[in-house]
Symmetry: C2
Subunit: 281 residues, 2 copies
C-alpha cells in the first residue's frame, strides 16, 4: 500500500494536440525537483536532502512536491539515475568496433572520463571507459556511492542497474564472449564495478565535501598505522598489507581490478574469430 501511485504515471505526450499546453503554467516540474535534489545532495551531503529543504529552495510546499514525485525514495532513485545517465551518456551510444589498439594498458590510466568520449577502441577500452565514467561520477558526487549501493540492493533491476548493465553488456558482446555466457559475464563485471565504486570515496569521516588530498593522506596514514597494531593472530594478512595500502592510488587500483576481470574473461573465452584487421595477439 506504500507504492500506490498518487498520480497517474506521467505518460509523455498523451494527447497529440496542445503539446505546449501541457506545460502551460508549470513552474514546478519533476525535472526541476530532481535537479534541485542533486544540487542539494552535492552541496550539503546526503542527509541534507529533506522535503523541507526542498520546499525551501523551491519556495513551495510539501504538497506540491509530492504531487510530482510521490515518494522520497523515488526522488533519490531519479536523482541517482540522472547522474548515472549523464556519466554514461558521455560516451557514444553505438559500439562500432573498428580500430585496433591492442592492450592499451597504460593509455587507460591517463585519460579521464572526458577523454573516453570520442575514441572508440577495443571493447576492453570501452569497458574501462564506462567504468571510469562511473568512478569519476562517484568522486564528483560523494552521495552517489551510497545511493548506488542502495538502489542496487533495494531494486536490483531498477533503471539505474539496467543502464549500467546495458553499457557494460555491449562491449562484453563485442569481446567475443559466447552468447550463452553474456549474462553471467556482464553480471560479473557489473558486480565488480559496483563493489569497487561503492567503496571508493569519503576518506574523511565527515559528511561534507569530498575531503581534500591532505585529509585523504592523513586518513590512509592513520588507518595504515592502526592496521599494523592489530592482533597478529586474528589479522595477519591485514597487517601484512598495511604498508601498501598507505600509498595506493584508488583510480589505479580500480583499473587494475577491471583488468583482472577482463583477463579472466578473455582467458576463459579466448578469441572468437577476430574481425579482419585485428591481430589476435
Amino acid at each position: 500500500m506504500v507504492d500506490r501511485c498518487s498520480k497517474p504515471v506521467r505518460m509523455a505526450a498523451m494527447a497529440p494536440r496542445t503539446r505546449q499546453a501541457e506545460r502551460r503554467r508549470q513552474v514546478l516540474t519533476r525535472e526541476r525537483i530532481i535537479e534541485t535534489a542533486v544540487e542539494l545532495l552535492d552541496a550539503e551531503g546526503e542527509d541534507a536532502l529533506t522535503v523541507r529543504a526542498l520546499t525551501g529552495r523551491l519556495a513551495t510546499g510539501s504538497g506540491a512536491i509530492y504531487w510530482h514525485i510521490g515518494n522520497m525514495g523515488e526522488l533519490l532513485e531519479a536523482a541517482t539515475e540522472a547522474v548515472v545517465a549523464a556519466a554514461l551518456d558521455a560516451r557514444p551510444t553505438e559500439t562500432g568496433r573498428a580500430r585496433e589498439s591492442d592492450r592499451a594498458r597504460e593509455t587507460g590510466r591517463a585519460r579521464g572520463a572526458a577523454g573516453a568520449r570520442g575514441a572508440v577502441g577495443t571493447p576492453q577500452d570501452d569497458i574501462r571507459a564506462v567504468a571510469l565514467g562511473l568512478f569519476d561520477a562517484v568522486t564528483a558526487h560523494p552521495w552517489l556511492a551510497g545511493q548506488l549501493a542502495i538502489q542496487f540492493t533495494r531494486n536490483p533491476w531498477g533503471p539505474v542497474t539496467l543502464r549500467i548493465f546495458e553499457s557494460i553488456g555491449r562491449p562484453v558482446r563485442a569481446l567475443g564472449v559466447p552468447r550463452a555466457d553474456w549474462f553471467t559475464t556482464a553480471s560479473a563485471l557489473v558486480h565488480y564495478l559496483l563493489g569497487a565504486t561503492t567503496q571508493t570515496r569519503r576518506h574523511a569521516g565527515d559528511d561534507t565535501v569530498p575531503a581534500s588530498e591532505a585529509e585523504r593522506a592523513a586518513f590512509l596514514d592513520t588507518a595504515s598505522s592502526a592496521w599494523q597494531e592489530l592482533d597478529p593472530d586474528d589479522y595477519p594478512f591485514i597487517r601484512a598489507i598495511a604498508e601498501q595500502m598507505r600509498d595506493h592510488d584508488d583510480r589505479e587500483q580500480f583499473l587494475t581490478g577491471i583488468d583482472l576481470v577482463l583477463t579472466g574473461i578473455t582467458t576463459l573465452h579466448p578469441a572468437p574469430m577476430p574481425p579482419a584487421g585485428t591481430r589476435s595477439r
Copy 2:
C-alpha cells in the same frame, strides 16, 4: 560531534580483580541487545528495527539501551558484524594448504557453507568457501545485503570489511600472488564479492520473509518479459539476455563470477613455485 562516545568504550576486563563483579547485576547486555536486534531484523525486516521495538522486546526503556550502544548505526554495524563473523568463523582459521585437488570446479557447486568447514583444499576452494559463506548468510538474513552495502560505503574500513578482507586475503596469499599485488588482488576479489552478494536476494518487492521459490520464479518471469519489451535502440543487450536471465541460478552465477576473477588472478600471476607434490596444472 555525533561520534562522541557516551560511554567509556567497553575495554574488556579492565581491572584484574572482581572479574565477575563486572556483571554483578547486568540484566541488559550489549550482546543481548545485538542479539535481539538480529532477531528483530530476521523476523520483521530492516524497517522493524527501531528503538521502541527493542524496548518492547527487552522490556526496558530507551535510556537503558542507549547506555549500552550509544547509536543506532553502531547497533546496526554490530549486528552486521556479528552475523558476518558467524558466517566466516564457520571455517578453519589457519589456512594450511596441503592436499591437492585441482580445479575442483564442480565440487564447489554442490556443497553448502557447512560442507566448507572441515576440508582444507586449494586456495581457490578456500576463497569459494568464504564467498559461499557470505552468500548463504545473505540469503538467510535478507537485511544483510543492504547492511553490507551501507557499512561498506559509510565505513569502508570498518570491522565488517576488515573481517572479510582478512578471510579473502589469506587464501590470496596462498595462491602465490606476488607480495606487491596482495592488496590490489584481494581488493578486487572483495569488491566482486560484495557487489555480487548485495544484489543477491529479495526477488519479491516485499519487506518480509525471504520470498518463496515460486515468488522468485514469478518475479524473474515478469522481469524477463519486461526486458523484452524495452526499446531495441536503447537496450539491445538487455533484450538479448532477457531469456537467459529468466532461468539463471543465483548461486551458480555467483560461483562462476568468482571463478572468472580467480582465472584472471592465476593468469596474471601464473604459478609461483608450487610446494612439492602439487602439480601445477
